[in-house]
Symmetry: C2
Subunit: 422 residues, 2 copies
Amino acid sequence: MTATRQLGERAQAMLDALAALTDEPGRLTRLYLSPAHAKAVDLVARWMTEIGLEVSVDALGTVRGHRKAGKAGVGGNKRLLIGSHIDTVVNAGRYDGMLGVVAGILALQELAAREVALPFGVDVLAFGDEEGVRFPTSLASSSAVAGIFPSTALDARDADGVSLRQALTDFGCEPDASQAAAYAPDDVLGYLEVHIEQGPVLEIEGKALGVVTSIAGQSRFNVLVTGEAGHAGTVPMTLRRDALAASAEMMAAIEDVALAGRAHEMVATVGRLTVEPGAINVIPNRVRFTLDLRAESDAPRAAATEEIKARCRAIAERRHVGFSMDRFYDNATTPCAPRLQDAFAGAIEALGHPTRRLTSGAGHDGHAIKALTDVGMLFVRCRGGISHNPAEFATVDDMGLAVEALIKTIGKLADQTDVSEE
Amino acid sequence: MTATRQLGERAQAMLDALAALTDEPGRLTRLYLSPAHAKAVDLVARWMTEIGLEVSVDALGTVRGHRKAGKAGVGGNKRLLIGSHIDTVVNAGRYDGMLGVVAGILALQELAAREVALPFGVDVLAFGDEEGVRFPTSLASSSAVAGIFPSTALDARDADGVSLRQALTDFGCEPDASQAAAYAPDDVLGYLEVHIEQGPVLEIEGKALGVVTSIAGQSRFNVLVTGEAGHAGTVPMTLRRDALAASAEMMAAIEDVALAGRAHEMVATVGRLTVEPGAINVIPNRVRFTLDLRAESDAPRAAATEEIKARCRAIAERRHVGFSMDRFYDNATTPCAPRLQDAFAGAIEALGHPTRRLTSGAGHDGHAIKALTDVGMLFVRCRGGISHNPAEFATVDDMGLAVEALIKTIGKLADQTDVSEE
């Protein structure tokens, strides 16, 4: 077995151990600050401790494992951040997020085993709120690390009415210390994240790894459509104000707008929808649904938002139903730093592989971290482009190669730091 | 105050007392075999006892109040049935169903007060499962009275997994005695029901009461659409198998078919819809929704069912999603007996009002009772045609007139019985 493949095997074993920590028997669901998340924090902290890192958990539940700089010099007070997240969607796969945390830990373990001294410290970070499933917030934990977490977000509540503040307190965190979770920008050298692609490009092109050029911007909305309840048997079709029939027409319009924008890699998703009163024989009077809208750059996403609003408003007027569409989350496109893209590309080429640069359609913690420091991302091929699904899969070989590329990238950054500081 | 208006006032007071019995604070929700239903059974039984009826509760929870025949003769062993239901939809009004029970009780009370002897017995029935909200059955209680209740339906389960059998047992009933709840057809003279119209016709035409010519047939379906979950940011629109986007297109097709059939008073309603996994950033892979389809006669409903199936199947094939549409309830059109229509019409005319005959778009317990005996229905004008809604409303004057018309109708049937038996 090659050393690279061995790294991949170790990554797989760690991912399997994490995947066993779930809040739902029979499938992997690990929402932010849940009991399974607490177990995952403990496991990651144990792994970090075992390889000699100094471990702490911050106010938002992010696990941090610190490796001290191994060389004297000006750069010795600075830190390179390597991270990803350990929360999941409902019925998730085992690679999304977790691979980046595991890759960081394995890279530091290997650097220690190879007795490589670095002119800067390294912090491996395991964020807890990347998927945004539980609370109507997103990237809370990486925002705190980046110093842009708004303390008002502590009042956000989950579907059971539990506030983020309460959930953090129950988790053993001190939510009111959220501002202290931020790094000082001058202390940070950059942020690296390894992640599965979650799309089909690398697989179609037969490449194991890709360098991310930017993370697509995204907007999320809550849509509310209000009509009038009535008896399903006696109100003629032409006199109805059916909130669900109106929502169906709106969903068709949303899909239409996204299809028209596909040259901009636009995607629109209605992922959650509830109907009231929800009885077989009653015309629905209240429908709520979410809209998630993304594109490779900001202008077409803004234009699509306006077009969707206008078309839905016209549908609502024609059907005499109420309509509101409130943006509760918006994130501009995050360009990846050219120097970090080049470091990843150089590492991949040094391993004998071609470089493929591509945009990330999925959002990542880098969206928040860009407020703190430069962001660089390495994509790992995944089967069928599938993620957020138990069928999510990356090969041991590809994962081993990713860890090796991360090690080489850290080495390249060290070389640059040595040169600049000497 | 006129005697008619006084009857209406008494009806309103009884309806208000029933409306206070709810399973949800702040709104009226009284599902079959719920705690609030148990309280309603007790209240109705008390009212029946107070006016001298013999009260019992059958295997399916129907309250029966029996008044003995007041004259000797062949007809004296026979019974006229008068009834309606005391279960409600979620967030219901206070007239739908309850008015028919209250009208029956008040009519018998008045007949006793007026010392009218009848040549037949009368049973007032308060059914418990007309709305079909809790269990995937419908008209369970009136089906048992009619002798067509299939005991396999006892295995039906509600959303919490509770079987009908268990719920009946917990309610104090003996579900395995369901067959004993049936009347012998030879013992029954007919079935009368007073009910709000639940549609706008009488109000638009300025008439207080209407005679029902038939109860529209109806079909109910469970539709399941299965696609593939995936990341909302990375799966291009053209590669998606989104179960909710497909369902939206199907709902538009369903609405379209119903609009095309409006000359047949066709109505189609999707009242319940659930999305899995139901996360903002995950493409839905599983949508279930219900379809309720009705028309004034059977042939156009059957044709619409086939067209909806064909159009949904085509949508599913084009989108590469799974589709199934299973009929779980079907009821043919129920014609009302001409002799009972004429008795109601004669009573209305004797009260100085014009006769308006019309179809019922809503289903009623008569759908089941037709298997046992002739069915006659009297409609009461309701405001805005609104029902299944807290805004449901009928005036005291219209309700008083309905009770008086019911009393006169019973009298006419008594006269006919006297003639035929002498």
